[in-house]
Amino acid sequence: MTAGLHRVSARCGVGLRLPHLAEVVASRPPVPWFEVHPENFLANPHAAELLTTIACDYPISVHTVGVSIGSASGIDRSHLGRVRTLVDDIDPILVSGHLAWSTHAGDYLNDLLPLPYDHETLLLLARHIDEVQDGLGRPYLVENPSSYVGFGTSTMTEVEFLSELVDRTGCRLLCDVSNIYLSGHNMGFDPYAYVDGLPIETIGELHLGGFTVEEDESNPGAEFLIDTHSARISEPVWDLYAHAVRRFGPRPTLIEWDNEIPLFATLVGEAARADAVAAQALDRQVRHAIAG
């Protein structure tokens, strides 16, 4: 296990993906912290070994993509046990996952799939989050999803559902600002109202990722947004991020880039912009307070 002395930083970190692993090991770039998907390392002992060395010098956040807290067929305890082993090895500053499901009766569907927001789902997720927090021995942050479809049977908004989950489990929230913007566009809600509805004290981390735009064939002239994590952060998302920082205060923020992965320097540049946007948003807030 690493020294365990790392603290959560409010500065912007970057997602560490396998193509950049050797470069990071060799050059030790000036990045405040990294986030990793444990599923990329559990089947790659060599990469996991390198990650352990990186964890000696950098705070690491573990962002699970395969724990599937929304699966009606239950949590995969074998996978959870493997994640626990990695978590024990690198002693991360944060551990998080998604408000979604991906496994069904033994099949893993390699996606973050939507859930109906109703009482049955709430009870199931509360039970599973308890199980995950017990299994990992630490708090779990739950991320709001990127949405293209929802269930007509939902009886709660996503914000209401997340707030209930927090109340019932003591989990915290990972607020993916890009997902809020994207889902608001696709599903027709106001992303600023969504941010304003989240319980401030529960926000443990912010995410920023790029999306791609596609024509909506069912609605000529309209577009929908796909959460590809394959592009720079869009301008409207930077604006929403500034709003989120003003509302939540400084929070550790992460740049995610998972497809068509660019040079590492590009990620560092996006992280620097996030720091600048956050600093400006907070500075403006202070000036307003003084003037007001």
């Binding site: 599923e39 990329n40 559990l42 089947a43 790659n44 002992p45 060599h46 990469a47 070994e49 993509v65 395969g66 724990v67 599937s68 699966s71 009606a72 067929s73 995969d76 996978h79 499901w101 991906s102 496994t103 069904h104 009766a105 033994g106 099949d107 893993y108 569907l109 390699n110 996606d111 799939l113 859930l115 109906p116 049955e120 789902t121 199931l124 949405s147 293209y148 479809v149 929802g150 269930f151 007509g152 049977t153 696709n186 599903m187 909506d216 064939e217 069912s218 609605n219 929908f224 796909i226």
Partner: protein, 261 residues
């Protein structure tokens, strides 16, 4: 209103089996939820096909990208992943690839794909400290046949009726010859790797049987018996010494008390 389990069964059917009839009445989103659902359907297929093609670049080189892509599409719908680590997905892809119409012109394809699968896995392994002869010598000689060995994690064995090791070396050389004669010939391969490196060695048949049996968890005695069946002149003592000298063993598993003959 269907239960959550039922809704997820329907969503799985829509994604894996392209059967969305039971799901669509439950969905909202856009003018046509089916178009939005197609994003998830497309992601499932595209992400897994990309993962498979990325895992078998030599097989793609051999059969061509269109053939491999069609096979991968069939594979992901017939055999969804069963675990969240996608790096572990695709073990059976060479079987399906070799069973597709048109693959009969490449009768060695299954073993070629299997060799590539093994290479991908041994290359990301980590070697453990090797078991020394002294450590084994500390055991009572009479107990030795009932001992099994834990071999290095980055070690695999493959027997093939074609010299697929030669063919994959052609791929790795990145200099495909204009003309290449490829004839059947049985090979017994030891594939070993760690930390980004790998090597492929051909073994004598009896040595292969011995080491493959050890890798499968057989006791030293049982592995030696198997090897002697294939070659009466096989020398177990010398073979065991070679296993240790080559650094293939990482630990011993002692027989549990009372389990002996």
């Amino acid at each position: 209103m269907p239960s959550l389990a039922e809704a997820q069964t329907r969503l799985r059917a829509a994604i894996v089996e392209d059967d969305a009839a039971g799901l669509l009445p439950l969905l909202v989103g856009g003018h046509e939820p089916a178009k939005r659902l197609a994003i998830h359907q497309r992601h499932y297929e595209t992400s897994l096909v990309t993962a498979l093609l990325g895992k078998f670049p030599a097989a793609v080189w051999l059969v061509g990208a269109p053939f491999a892509t069609e096979a991968a599409r069939e594979f992901v719908h017939r055999h969804p992943p069963t675990a969240p680590c996608i790096a572990e997905y695709g073990r059976k892809f060479p079987d399906l690839l070799a069973s597709r119409p048109g693959a009969e012109r490449l009768p060695y394809l299954r073993w070629f794909g299997e060799l590539e699968w093994h290479l991908g896995h041994v290359a990301v392994a980590i070697d453990r400290p090797s078991l020394t002869m002294d450590a084994l010598a500390a055991l009572e000689a009479a107990a030795l046949p009932d001992v099994s060995l834990v071999l290095q994690p980055g070690l695999r064995y493959l027997a093939a009726p074609w010299p697929v090791d030669d063919l994959i070396k052609v791929y790795l050389s990145e200099a495909a010859p204009d003309h290449y004669v490829f004839e059947p010939a049985e090979v017994q391969l030891e594939i070993r790797g760690a930390r980004g490196e790998f090597r492929i060695d051909r073994l004598e048949p009896a040595t292969f049987v011995f080491r493959e049996a050890l890798a499968a968890g057989h006791t030293i005695g049982s592995a030696a018996e198997e090897a002697l069946k294939s070659d009466a002149t096989f020398d177990p003592g010398r073979a065991l010494a070679a296993v240790l000298a080559d650094g293939l063993a990482a630990a011993v598993n002692l027989p549990s008390q009372g389990a002996g003959p």
